[in-house]
């Protein structure tokens, strides 16, 4: 079991830059400098976004001397996939309601 994350995964991925960071990390682990080189924002801003991802448990951090390295923890994204699965059921239900709507209309 993983420790409970401090912040919500859904909040963590609500920002486009953070999603792009996860994209980058899905290829390989990277240093802060490496990550920052892909973004047109200040280093502190990049670090703040990484902090949110870290707090949500989506990435792990390791120190290499003075540099910090980040790796993806994809398992933490499971709630999102679960959520999308629920959406799938949501539409099953509503398309059934559409069918019902149509058949009731016909009989009137």
């Amino acid at each position: 079991m993983t420790a409970a994350p401090k912040s919500d995964v859904f909040v963590a991925i609500s920002h486009e830059a953070r999603r792009q960071m996860l994209d980058l990390l899905s290829e390989s682990g990277r240093s802060v400098n490496d990550i920052a080189s892909h973004f047109e924002m200040s280093r502190p801003a990049v670090s703040q976004h990484l902090r949110v991802l870290l707090d949500a448990g989506l990435v792990t951090e390791r120190r290499h001397g003075r540099e910090r390295h980040y790796n993806l923890s994809p398992g933490r994204l499971a709630p999102i996939r679960d959520w999308i699965t629920q959406y799938d059921r949501y539409w099953d239900e509503h398309l059934m309601r559409l069918q019902k709507h149509l058949s009731e209309k016909k009989s009137k």
Binding site: F10, S14, P74, L77, R81, D82, Y87, R89, D92
Partner: protein, 147 residues
């Protein structure tokens, strides 16, 4: 590749009839949720998903914009409900099928799962999520109502 929910169903009604059920405010309120839909590209509207205090679901607003509207063939609107469902895309394509209609439904643009292959999720411990619970509550509320 983004995650897409795809569904197909054959309906005995004509395309025109099915179109009336998907591109009409009152009809959408009947099988979806209260809304202020208008069948016109660029129209912004909302679905008001009612809450259910019994299960702690506060309700939510889904923000939409009509992206394509070609009666009786194609209706597309954006769908933003917060969380990972920002600016996703819901489409209804109606194809003639004998005397009836084939409805091809898609909800696409869940691009948050995009960079992560299915294998990335395997063996994961499934966490609790507020929104997941909300939607489950919503489904429960719905099925209770329809009984």
């Amino acid at each position: 590749m983004s995650h897409t929910i795809k569904k197909q169903m054959n309906l005995p009604q004509s395309r025109e009839r099915v179109w009336e059920a998907i591109a009409n405010r009152e009809a959408l309120a009947d099988w979806m949720h209260p809304n202020d839909f208008e069948p016109r590209v660029g129209h912004r509207f909302t679905f008001q998903v009612p809450g259910n205090p019994a299960v702690g679901f506060a309700g939510l607003t889904v923000n939409c914009e009509v992206l394509e509207c070609a009666p009786p063939r194609l209706l597309v609107f954006s769908w933003s409900a917060g969380g990972p469902v920002a600016n996703t895309r819901v489409s209804f394509r109606l194809e003639p099928e004998g005397d009836g209609t084939r409805l091809v439904f898609e909800h696409s643009g869940f691009d948050l799962s995009q960079p992560f292959g299915d294998q990335a999720f395997k063996g994961a411990d499934y966490g609790w999520s507020k929104m997941l619970n909300q939607l489950s509550s919503l489904l429960t509320a719905r099925s209770t109502q329809s009984q």
